[in-house]
Amino acid sequence: MTSVKTYTIIYVILLALGTGKFLFFTFDFGYATAMGGTMLLAVIKSLLIAGYYQHLVDEPRSISYMMLVAVFMVFLLVIAAGYSIQ
C-alpha cells in the first residue's frame, strides 16, 4: 500500500491537472489543441486515480488488462460507429 504522502502528492497533481483542463479553454490555444490537451490531461488524471488510489499498480496485471479490454471495447464501438456515418 502506498503512503499518505504519496496520496497527497497525487491529490495535488490531480487538482493542478483539473485546473489545466479549464485553462486550455479559458485562454486561446485553438480548439484542436485545447481539445487534445484536455483529453490528454483527462487520461493522465484517470491513470493516476486508477493506478494509485485504486492501487492498480500493486494489483496483478491481469486486472489492468481486464479494464483495458473494457476501455478498448468502448473505443471499438465509438470509433467504428463514428466511422460508419462518415
Partner: protein, 858 residues
C-alpha cells in the same frame, strides 16, 4: 441463518442460496418460459394458416405475439436455461463447493424470475411491446407509434423495463461466475484442463460482461426516453443508427452467448457417447476463444441495409465470413470424434447430433446473409427467420440433450430411453417441417401475415411442423414426470465414458458437494481430507475422473464416495451458510418499483405539462412530435406512483437488511487462480463490476459523441451556463477521492475516529457535489431548458444524471458504512470493505474527469 429447510418445503426454495438449488430454479423457470413463448408461437402460427391471417389475432395482437415470443425465447428461456446448467454444474466440474457469492446468485435468480413476470404483466397494461424483439428506433418511442398503440405505451414501457431488470440479473450472474471460475478451481485444475462445458460457460460470461453492458446502456436511454420523454431515439438525427449500433454491439455476441453453452454440452456428450476425448481439444478451445473475440467485430452485418458507408459494410462482411472459420474447426472436431470413437445413440447423443446437423444448416445459410449483396435480397424475409431459428434452435436442441444427459445426476432417477428417442424423432421432424419451408418462402417479408398465395402450402406445412415440434416437448415433460415418480434410481455415473467430476459423486449430489477437498494435483480427481496441519494430505475414497473426457476405460469412472455433510469441515468457523431471505426480498422490491415505473410517464407528463406545452409551442419541435399525443399521456396515476415509491422503500429496507445480515461463504484456501491470483474474491468481483460499468458509461458517453458527430461536431455548444460549476465539482470529487483513500488508511490503522471523519468528509463532499449539480440544473430549468427541450439537452441531462445517480448510490453505501462503523466498529479489523467502496468511488470520480471536458468545455 444457515439452516436450510427440506426440499419439499416451499420455504427452502425462497431462502436457498445453494448453487444446485438455484440451478434447479433456473432450469424449471426457464422451461416455464419456454412453454409460454411456445404457446405464443403456436397462436401466431395458427393465425398464419391462411394468407392474410385467419382472424385469430388482430394486427396488433399478432405483432405482440411475435415480439414477445422473440423476447421470451432469446432472453427468458435460452440464456437462463444455460445459466441453470451452469449453476448446477460449473462448481461441480471445477471442484468448488458453491459459487463465489451465493447470495448474489440467488438474487440473480429472483431478478430473472420477477423480470419475466413483469414482461407478462405488460400484456394486461393495454398490450405488450409490439415493435419486434430488436426494438428498433424510432418505433421504440411512444410519439412514433400513434393511434391505438399509444394506449399500449405503459405495457410497451413495461416490456423494456422488464428487459432492463433481466440485464441487471445477468450482470450479477456474470460477476459471480467470472469470480468463481477464475478463483475457485480445485488444486491442479488449470484452465486448459477445465471440462469443455465449463470452458464454454467461461467464454459465455466473458462475452456477457461486455455485451450485456452495452444493452443495459441502450435500455437505460430507451427507458428514460419512454418515461421522462428525452429524445435519444425520437429524432431523425441518427437515432435509428444509434439504437442499431448499441443493440447489435450486444446482439451479435448474444448469438454466441446463447449458443456457446449448447456447444459445451455437445462437446461433453460427444466425448461421453463416442467414448473418446474430443479430437483436437486444444484447438477447439482456441477456436472458441477466437469466436468470442470475433463476436464483437461483426455487429454491423445486421446493419447492411442502413446508411452506414460501403467501406465499413465491406469490412464487416469480411469479419463476418471470417468468424465461420473457427466454427468449421469445431464442427470437424465433432465429426472426427464420431469417426474415431464408438458411437452410442442414446437420447442425449441424438439431440447433440441433431444440434450439429441443424447448426451446419443454420451456419451455411448464414453465410448468405453475411455477404452484403445477398443480404440486400434476404434481409427482412423469412430466410432470416429460418436461418436464425436453425442456429438458435440448434442450441436449444443441444440444451435439451443436456437436460437428458444430466437428468439422472440432478433428479437421481433415470428417464425412459425409448420415450426419449421418440421425443427426439418428433422434435427433429417437427422442427424441420416448421423451418425448412421458410427458406423456400424467402420472398415473404417477416413479421407480416399477408403472404403470397403461392406460398400457402409452405406456410401450412410450417404451421403443422410448429404443432408437432411443440407437442414433442410434452413427450419430454411426460418422460421426466414418469421418471420422478416411477423411474429407476440413477447410479452415480450412468454413462460409461463420462469423466467430468460431477459423475464422481452421488446422484443427486449432497449439499456440500464433496467428501473433503477435491484435488487434481496428482492428475486425477481425489478427495483430500481437510486438516489444517496437512492441507495436501492423503487421498480418500475419490473416483478417478480425469479433468475432462478422454479414452477412458469402462470402470474408470465409478466413485464409491458417499455424501458427506459440510459439517466435516476441519476449519472452525468456516461453516458455510446456505439460507437467506433477502435476495428474494430485494427481487420483490425491485419488482414493485419497476411495476410502478412503467406507469410513471403519465405522472411525469402531468407534472411537467405546462413546460411541455410551452416547449411544443416552439418551432424547434420536430414535426414528428404532436402536442396532443404527448399531452394525451397526462394522467396522474396514483397507483403507479404508489408502487414506484413503495417499491423504492421496500427495496431500500431489503438492501439494508441484506447488508446487515451475517452470511459466511468461505473462500477456498487451496485453489487454482490463474491469472487472477493475488486479489480476493470480493475485490475481483468489484473490478469485474467496474469493467461492466466502464461499458455502460462508455456507451452512454459514446452515444453523446455519436450524436455529436452526426450533427456535425461544432453545431453543439456546452449546455451548462457556468464552466466554473463543473470545475468546482471536479475539485469536490477529487477531494472526496482523497478523503476516501485516507479513510482506507485510517481503517488500516484501526483508527475509528479517523475512519469516521474521513468517510464522513467523503459523504459531505458527495452531498456538496449533488448540491452544485442541483443548483446548475435548477438554473437551466429556470431558463426553460429541460431534458425534453432537444437532443443536446437529453444528452446532457441523462449523461450527467447517470453520473449523479452513481454518486447517490455511493452516498447510500457510504452512509450505510458510516452507520456500521458507529454501531458495531466495523472495518477496523478488516478494512477491505472500505477499499472496495473506494474502488467504486474513484471510478465515479474518473467518469467525471471525462465528463467535465466533454460537457462543460468542448
Amino acid at each position: 441463518m444457515s439452516d436450510l429447510p427440506p426440499k419439499r418445503s416451499l420455504k427452502r426454495w425462497l431462502v436457498t442460496t445453494n448453487h444446485k438449488d438455484v440451478g434447479i430454479l433456473y432450469l424449471t423457470t426457464s422451461l416455464v418460459f419456454l412453454l409460454l413463448g411456445g404457446i405464443l408461437a403456436l397462436i401466431f402460427r395458427a393465425h398464419l394458416w391462411e394468407s392474410g391471417g385467419t382472424g385469430l389475432l388482430s394486427g396488433n395482437e399478432f405483432n405482440q405475439s411475435v415480439t414477445t415470443h422473440g423476447l421470451v425465447m432469446v432472453f427468458w428461456f435460452l440464456s437462463p436455461i444455460a445459466t441453470g446448467f451452469a449453476n448446477y454444474l460449473v462448481p461441480l466440474q471445477i471442484g468448488a463447493k458453491d459459487l463465489a457469492f451465493p447470495r448474489l446468485n440467488a438474487l440473480s435468480y429472483w431478478l430473472y424470475l420477477f423480470s419475466g413476470v413483469l414482461l407478462f404483466i405488460s400484456f394486461f397494461q393495454g398490450g405488450s411491446w409490439s415493435g419486434g424483439w430488436t426494438i428498433y428506433a424510432p418505433l421504440n418511442v411512444p410519439m412514433y407509434t400513434p393511434g391505438a398503440v399509444i394506449e399500449a405505451s405503459v405495457g410497451g414501457t413495461m416490456a423494456i423495463i422488464a428487459l432492463m431488470m433481466f440485464v441487471i440479473s445477468i450482470t450479477m450472474g456474470t460477476i459471480n461466475f467470472l469470480t468463481t471460475i477464475h478463483r475457485q478451481r480445485a488444486e491442479g485444475l488449470g484452465l486448459w484442463n477445465m471440462p469443455l462445458f465449463t470452458w464454454s460457460w467461461l467464454l459465455t460470461v466473458w462475452m456477457m460482461l461486455f455485451a450485456f453492458a452495452a444493452l443495459f446502456a441502450a435500455l437505460i436511454m430507451l427507458t428514460i426516453d419512454r418515461v421522462m420523454l428525452t429524445q435519444y431515439f425520437a429524432t431523425d438525427q441518427g437515432s435509428g443508427l444509434l439504437w442499431a449500433h448499441l443493440f447489435w454491439f450486444f446482439g451479435h455476441p448474444e448469438v454466441y452467448i446463447v449458443f456457446f453453452p449448447a456447444l459445451g454440452i455437445m462437446f461433453e456428450t460427444f466425448q461421453t457417447f463416442c467414448g473418446r476425448r474430443l479430437v483436437g481439444r486444444k484447438w477447439v478451445i482456441i477456436s472458441m476463444i477466437l469466436v468470442a473475440v470475433q463476436s464483437f467485430l461483426v455487429w454491423m452485418h445486421h446493419m447492411f441495409l442502413t446508411t452506414i458507408n460501403l467501406e465499413v459494410k465491406t469490412l464487416f462482411m469480411a469479419t463476418t465470413i471470417g468468424i465461420s472459420l473457427p466454427f468449421d474447426l469445431m464442427v470437424f472436431a465433432l465429426i472426427y470424434t464420431m469417426v474415431k470413437g464408438r458411437v452410442r445413440f442414446t437420447t442425449p447423443f441424438l439431440f447433440s447430433l441433431g444440434a450439429l446437423v441443424l447448426f451446419i444448416l443454420g451456419g451455411i445459410t448464414g453465410v448468405f446473409l453475411g455477404a452484403v449483396v445477398l443480404d440486400y435480397e434476404f434481409r427482412g424475409t423469412y430466410w432470416v427467420v429460418a436461418h436464425f431459428h436453425y442456429v438458435m434452435v440448434s442450441g436449444v436442441t443441444a440444451l435439451v440433450g443436456g437436460l437428458y444427459y444430466w437428468w439422472p445426476k440432478i433428479s437421481g432417477r433415470m428417464y425412459h430411453e425409448f420415450t426419449g428417442k421418440l421425443h427426439f424423432a418428433a422434435y427433429f421432424i417437427g422442427f424441420n417441417l416448421l423451418y425448412f419451408p421458410m427458406f423456400l418462402t424467402w420472398e415473404t417479408p417477416r413479421r407480416v401475415f399477408h403472404y403470397s398465395g403461392g406460398d400457402l402450402i409452405w406456410h401450412q406445412m410450417a404451421t403443422i411442423g410448429a404443432f408437432v415440434f411443440g407437442f414433442s416437448f410434452l413427450i419430454m415433460f411426460a418422460n421426466f414426470a414418469w421418471s420422478l415418480i416411477w423411474g429407476p434410481k440413477a447410479p452415480d455415473n450412468p454413462w460409461k465414458y463420462s469423466r467430468t467430476a460431477e459423475w464422481a459423486i452421488p446422484s443427486p449430489p449432497p449439499l456440500d458437494n464433496w467428501p473433503g477437498r477435491p484435488s487434481y494435483a496428482s492428475g486425477t480427481l481425489e478427495f483430500v481430507e481437510e486438516t489444517s496441519a496437512h492441507p495436501a494430505g492423503a487421498a480418500t475414497d475419490g473416483g478417478t475422473a480425469a479433468t475432462d473426457g478422454g479414452t477412458a476405460t469402462v470402470d474408470a469412472t465409478v466413485s464409491e464416495s458417499t455424501g458427506a455433510s459440510g459439517d466435516e469441515h476441519a476449519h472452525e468457523g468456516e461453516h458455510a451458510d446456505h439460507a437467506s431471505i433477502w435476495p428474494f426480498m430485494i427481487g420483490l422490491g425491485t419488482f414493485i418499483m419497476f411495476l410502478g415505473m412503467s406507469g410513471m410517464t403519465g405522472v411525469v407528463v402531468e407534472l411537467m405539462s405546462d413546460q411541455i406545452a410551452a416547449h411544443l409551442g416552439t418551432e424547434d419541435v420536430s414535426s414528428n412530435v404532436n402536442a396532443d399525443q404527448i399531452l394525451g399521456f397526462a394522467d396522474m396515476n396514483y397507483v403507479y406512483l404508489t408502487f414506484f415509491l413503495g417499491g423504492i422503500g421496500f427495496l431500500s429496507y431489503s438492501l439494508f437488511m441484506f447488508g446487515k445480515e451475517q452470511f459466511n461463504a468461505p473462500e477456498m484456501e487451496v485453489a487454482e487462480r490463474w491469472p487472477f491470483e493475488g486479489v480476493g474474491n470480493t475485490k475481483f468481483g468489484v473490478w469485474v463490476f467496474l469493467a461492466s460499468d466502464v461499458i455502460v458509461f462508455g456507451a452512454v458517453i459514446g452515444a453523446y459523441l455519436f450524436m455529436r458527430i452526426w450533427a456535425g461536431w461544432f453545431t453543439f455548444e456546452p449546455i451548462p451556463d457556468y464552466t466554473w460549476a463543473g470545475l468546482l465539482n471536479t475539485y469536490i470529487l477529487l477531494t472526496s477521492s482523497f478523503t476516501v483513500i485516507l479513510a482506507l488508511v485510517m481503517a488500516e490503522r484501526s483508527n475509528k475516529k479517523g475512519l469516521m471523519a474521513c468517510l464522513g468528509a467523503t459523504i459531505m463532499l458527495g452531498l456538496a457535489f449533488m448540491a452544485v449539480k442541483a443548483w446548475e440544473w435548477g438554473g437551466k430549468f429556470a431558463q426553460g431548458d429541460y431534458w425534453f427541450s432537444g437532443l443536446e439537452y437529453s444528452l446532457y441531462y441523462v449523461t450527467t444524471g447517470l453520473h449523479a445517480l452513481h454518486v447517490i448510490f455511493g452516498l447510500l453505501v457510504g452512509g450505510f458504512m458510516l452507520y456500521r462503523i458507529y454501531t458495531i466498529d466495523a472495518y477496523l479489523e478488516d478494512e477491505r470493505p472500505v477499499e472496495f467502496f473506494g474502488l467504486y468511488w474513484h471510478f465515479v470520480d474518473i467518469v467525471w474527469v471525462i465528463l467535465f471536458p466533454l460537457f462543460y468545455l468542448m
